[in-house]
Amino acid sequence: MLSKQLELLVALQDLDCMLKEVEEVKALGFEAPGKEDLEKAREELAKKIEPRLLSTYNRLRKHYKRAIAPVKDNKCLGCFMQLPTSLSVRGRRDDEVITCQGCGRILYWLD
């Protein structure tokens, strides 16, 4: 079970990606009868996220295609800004929501 706010945000973005691609995946031969259930699950998931974070997520999503950017080699892959190395230990714990100083996106450490 996911409990940390950052994990919930990533799960929300993954779910938003999935919901957007349902028709494409169906066209490949997969069945997808549970779309409405999944939309409900998305609402349930969103309720677990602090309202302030959720509004940040929604605001970023309007501005960029995706609100959360992966970090690799200490670089935000949203805007390619080099992040302070001091952030990486904190970032990898997944228990804090850190935003990029360059683009404002929420950060998720890939490696």
Binding site: L2, E7, A11, M18, L28, E31, P33, L38, K65, P70
Partner: protein
Amino acid sequence: MERGELALYFHDELFLPEMKATNKEEALEELVDLFVKNHIIRNKEIVLEMLRKREALGSTGIGKGVAIPHGRTLAAPDVMIAFGRSTAGIEYDSMDGQPVHLFFMVLAPPHDRSNKYLPLLGKLVEFISEDQVRQQLLEAKDFQEVIDLIVGE
């Protein structure tokens, strides 16, 4: 996408010749564990959560003993396939109710620059639809035989 190109997304370290899982949840976990052990995925729970949600949308057990659990997740650095087999077969809530012997877990980042994810899924579905291919994949002795089969040699 050419059939041979499929082979680029398979990796020796992401091949499980005989899975231990006995049910769907364990099967998903065992395959995700491969990505974790090989330091491809850092946060296992995020990936499992996405895959469970995908199964809630509709079973990825497409029938004839094949499951293709798949999805995009921010936790995946690249488009990759983990391939696992179960001789005994695993109950998977498949479209045809049959147990699954061949598992292809396809993970992709939210956005892959070359846009390979959907064509890859399509190619995989097509490839696996041949009866002979499924049989040969079950019988392949090692990873190299799997790759030879895919590239058609």
